[in-house]
């Protein structure tokens, strides 16, 4: 899958952002919350690559630091939602009786838009990174459940499952070694999409002012602060926005790439692929 340019590009973008945000304090002395009222709303320059905000803080540094929260929230939410969704989806898909109970709960939750659900939860729990993760994880798992369940239903009736049963394998073994590996690709793909959607959702919550504490730089918080300056200082909103767009785009491309690459047949063939032009034979 690394042979595709698109996949390489998206992995590159994600790696760059991750490394930049982790090592930010090493290569830059500027603190993201360093306030200098004399430098308010400066346009991008060699000194301040992305310009400065209404408190004179450096937007480049803030955008980089903001990625931390976004990536952590996105990754943890993706893991939590994937885990919950996979377990419930496996159970719902495999056991008929559990199916109706789990799926009714899921249907009920899907009746609300995920963001509204998260909004309500954050409003109730209070806005901290941990609470946002809980809220978003909770809001996103039902979609994963649906996808996993559908995949299980498809695989469940294939003959090798029946063959495994005749060899005396237990349900747990069948679920973990026969079904799960065969439905991994939709799970991983949906996981990357959840990652992307969680970043967007976190930004949206912060933008609405009920997200992460406003003093912590996040892309959503920055956008929220920037909105009143949008005509005066467009760079203030463009760069954090660009951060969101790039990360989400890269994640979505990666998800598509994984989907294409995840066929055991295709993988082998790609390795063997020889470029033989038709003209040679024509």
């Amino acid at each position: 899958m690394l042979k595709r340019k698109r996949n390489l590009l998206s992995i590159g973008i994600l790696l760059l952002i991750t490394i930049a945000t982790i090592t930010a304090s090493l290569w830059s002395q500027t603190s993201p919350s360093f306030i200098d009222p004399t430098l308010r709303l400066l346009s991008p320059s060699s000194e301040h690559w992305f310009g400065t905000d209404h408190f004179g803080r450096d937007i480049f540094i803030r955008t980089i630091y903001a990625a931390r929260v976004s990536l952590i929230v996105g990754a943890v939410v993706a893991v939590v939602a994937t885990f919950l969704g996979t377990v419930t989806g496996l159970i719902a898909g495999y056991y008929k009786k559990a199916d109706s109970i789990i799926m009714r709960i899921v249907d009920g939750m899907l009746a609300f838009p995920a963001l509204i659900l998260a909004l309500a939860l954050v409003a109730a729990l209070g806005g901290s990174v941990a609470n946002i993760i809980i809220a978003l994880g909770f809001a996103f798992w039902p979609i994963m459940t649906r996808i996993v369940r559908a995949a299980v239903l498809q695989v469940k009736n294939v003959q090798y499952i029946e063959a495994a049963k005749t060899t005396g394998a237990s349900d747990f073994v069948i679920l973990t070694t026969y079904i799960l590996p065969n439905i991994l690709s939709p799970i991983i793909v949906q996981g990357t999409f959840t990652f992307a959607r969680a970043i967007l959702a976190e930004a949206a919550l912060s933008f609405l002012g009920i997200g992460v504490n406003p003093t912590t730089p996040t892309w959503g918080n920055m956008l929220q602060e920037a909105q009143i300056y949008i005509s005066m200082a467009p760079w203030f909103s463009i760069f954090p926005g660009l951060g969101i767009v790039l990360t989400v785009l890269a994640l979505n491309m990666l998800g598509d790439g994984i989907r294409d690459a995840f066929d055991p047949h295709a993988k082998k063939q790609l390795k063997k692929r020889k470029k033989v032009s038709q003209q040679k034979y024509a």
């Binding site: 294939v158 003959q159 090798y160 029946e162 063959a163 495994a164 049963k165 005749t166 060899t167 005396g168 394998a169 237990s170 073994v173 070694t177 026969y178 590996p181 065969n182 055991p264 047949h265 082998k268």
Partner: protein
Amino acid sequence: MSQELLRIQDLEMHFPIKEGVLQKTTGYVKAVNGVSLSVNKGETLGIVGESGCGKSTLAKTILGLLKPTSGDIFYEGESILNYNAKQMHELRRNIQMVFQDPFSSLNPRMQVGDIIAAPLKVYKTTKNVKHRVQELMELVGLKPEYYHRLPHEFSGGQRQRIGIARAIALEPKLIVCDEPVSALDVSVQAQVINLLEDLQKELGLTYIFIAHDLSVIKHMADRVGVMYLGKVMELSNNESFYQNAQHPYTNALLSAIPLPDPVKEKERERIVLKGDLPSPANPPSGCVFHTRCPRAQDYCKKNVPLLETKEDGTAHTVACFFPIEHAEQIQK
């Protein structure tokens, strides 16, 4: 006298048909509708029938994958239907299955070695699993070097060998083969059939061999049973079955098989059955075959012919009121 390994008695397997919003049961598909058969140790019982005759359902019931509606199955004289989970687990070691489709019966993400090792790991029969797997691979004619390959790297015939290795891994007594060669190319079919026969001799296996192809069964089976709409129509030893088929349905089946011999093919008389198989949800009254039978009379519409069970398992029995007599056979 040979010893009985498995006996099926008056087995019925009816699947409910559910309709409407409330999933109300509106009828039953009578997939297996009163089947009695027995298999002796070391023999091959061939079961033939067209699609929808219930032969695969019968196989699944024997393996305990389906719970029959009524009737009983005896393994070595013991009824297995009321076995608890532990007894069932023990039984599964002794009854294994080879599946029809060599492509969907192997987990595409597992290495060949692991596929064959799966039953060994469940039952922990041996410490040196890898050694045993390689032994099995050699036994079925696969190179042990292929241990780490994935199923899609093999051709249909080789995949069926993998399936056979998995089935014999636990040294079972009975193997149910559900159309094991019908998805394979002709040139490979013979390889797999011969392999199954060799294994039978070597390991003392008993087979229930299910197929739609009477010619394959002729080469394989000691005894042959013909099924139609969930019932056994005729049951006999191999020679008598092919030389002296008495049921009109068996005769039609035999004559419908095209011979790879143009002259014989043009000379012989063919019985082409009219119409299609009736729905197993709504089988005809009386003899289920009467709607397509060239010999049917009014009597057949009202009365159900029974397959007489005789003490001697090798006897030729037929469920028909007007079977084709031996004299007619010779005339033909």
